[in-house]
């Protein structure tokens, strides 16, 4: 029997909330799928759309952007900017024909280790039936 497909998720986690949230999940010994490649960024608002396209280009099966809840941003309004920009990126990716499930955004605070594990579990579950992402992957 062929091995089950394991998706690779590139997760851009904001330093102040989501990254700490994933840390909490770790030190609390919560179990969640090991498919995530976490990248800590200073703010979800600092994620350039280019990072996202580039991640898909280099073979990510899914990309997650995670930041503080609205109103909780360390830089006061970074996540509001992110919300606007990511909405446009998501629309664009769907417009060129990428499956909408492959690109997700979430709000995870530093205290929400459980929510973080749930987000990852759901994401992996949604990605598995889709199979590998080949549309935007570099083909050489």
């Amino acid at each position: 029997m062929a091995e089950e497909f394991e998706p690779t998720i590139v997760a851009f986690l904001c330093k102040w909330c989501s990254s700490a949230g994933s840390d909490l999940a770790g030190v609390s010994r919560m179990e969640y799928p090991p498919n995530v490649v976490p990248i800590t960024v200073m703010c979800s608002g600092s994620v350039s759309p280019l990072y996202i396209f580039s991640a898909f280009n280099r073979g990510a099966d899914g990309v997650l952007i995670s930041g503080c809840h609205p109103g909780d941003c360390h830089y006061i309004k970074g996540n509001y900017y992110a919300r606007r920009r990511i909405a446009l990126v998501k629309k664009l990716l769907e417009y060129v024909g990428l499956e909408p499930e492959r690109f997700q955004m979430s709000w995870v605070s530093a205290a929400e280790g459980t929510k973080y594990t749930q987000v990852i579990k759901d994401f992996v579950k949604e990605l598995k039936p889709l199979g590998p992402q080949t549309k935007l992957r570099r083909n050489r």
Binding site: P49, L50, N57, R84, V89, Y95
Partner: protein, 343 residues
């Protein structure tokens, strides 16, 4: 036509008074139907100017070039440039003003109205004339174009040979100008996003197949970037060669220079390039359609930019190119921005 005389006189006047260093408009080209940009430095040259439905180019791009040129000069002439603008070009100038790329005092805007029609699409015209060669096109009565061919004059309803973008135009009259010539009533496009329906009605898989086929053709000549008045960055993420390598550049620095995308024109890289360009133009593209016109492979680039324009309007109520005071799309936010897609 009386209006062309007005235009010439206005250009002559501002040149004579020394108000501007030169004026940019359109003049007849020796080859083909489409005109070429005219740089009028002396009053007597102003007689060359034309204004016809064939004046498709967006001349605001020259403001970008002029700014670059001035930055290199030791004592640049600080007087403004006279610029002849259509409705769509005026919106491009508004975006440049909004981004503080140029100052209002850098340009003297001579607005010309599209007389409730617009500019022609050369391909549609050729199809319509069935092999006859058009020599001249003029604005006629009742939104008709008067086409002069070798076999005499024909009147064609404007809607049949108008460029696609003109059918969806939001500003048939310049939104800002110092002088405005011609018809001043605005024509309302009933559905400014009508052409998009063709792509939007497809399923996700069909859309993917459509874009894959289109973007696979791209040879990455960057003509779309060169012609775009909004693509004015000194360094573009799409280039990896413009990293300044000097004698002091270490091997490490060279190795660590991030290559966001390869130069090779394969589909995967073309997707990154065109998506990045679309995102960078979100809330800035004013749909002058120049990228699509210059594309040697006829990639429908307007569909990408137009789609984000539509989304910006639907999601955030944002319309680019009307108010120079409004903050740009991704540099502002509202509390009620949609977030139902976020977990």
């Amino acid at each position: 036509m009386a209006k062309l005389e007005e235009l010439k006189n206005e250009v002559k006047r501002i040149l004579k008074e020394g108000k501007v260093k030169y004026a940019i408009g359109y003049e007849r080209d020796t080859n083909g139907l489409l005109p070429k940009p005219a740089f009028i430095k002396k009053t007597e040259e102003a007689d060359k100017l034309i204004w016809e439905p064939t004046c498709v180019y967006n001349l605001s791009r020259f403001l970008v070039d002029e700014k670059r040129k001035m930055a290199k000069e030791k004592n640049p002439d600080q007087r403004p440039i006279g610029l002849i603008i259509k409705g769509c070009d005026s919106r491009a100038v508004v975006v440049l003003l909004q981004e503080k790329f140029i100052k209002r005092s850098d340009v003297y805007l001579i607005g010309v109205s599209c007389e409730n029609s617009g500019v022609v699409d050369e391909r549609k015209l050729q199809k319509k004339l069935k092999g006859k060669k058009a020599e001249k096109i003029e604005f006629g009565e009742k939104e008709n174009f008067v086409v002069t061919t070798s076999e005499g004059k024909i009147e064609i309803p404007a809607s049949e040979i108008l460029a696609e973008r003109c059918l969806e135009c939001k500003a048939s009259v310049p939104v800002i100008s110092d002088v405005l010539l011609g018809e001043k009533t605005k024509r309302k496009a009933d559905n400014p996003f009508k052409s998009l329906e063709r792509v939007e009605s497809m399923s996700a898989e069909e859309r993917w197949a459509f874009w894959k086929a289109e973007l696979d053709k791209c040879i990455r000549c960057y003509a779309c970037r060169s012609v775009c008045p909004m693509c004015y960055c000194d360094e573009c993420v799409a280039d990896t060669i413009n990293f300044a390598v000097t004698a002091d550049t270490t091997a490490e620095e060279k190795a660590q220079k991030i290559k966001w995308l390869e130069k090779s024109p394969v589909a995967s890289e073309n997707f990154v390039y065109h998506m990045v360009r679309a995102i960078h133009l979100a809330g800035r593209c004013i749909d002058c359609g120049e990228c699509e016109r210059v594309c040697p492979l006829d990639i429908p680039l307007r569909f990408l930019n137009k789609y984000l324009e539509k989304e910006a309007q639907e999601l955030f109520g944002y319309e680019p190119g009307f108010d120079p005071e409004q903050p740009s799309l991704v540099a502002c936010f509202k509390d009620e921005d949609p977030q139902d897609f976020i977990r």
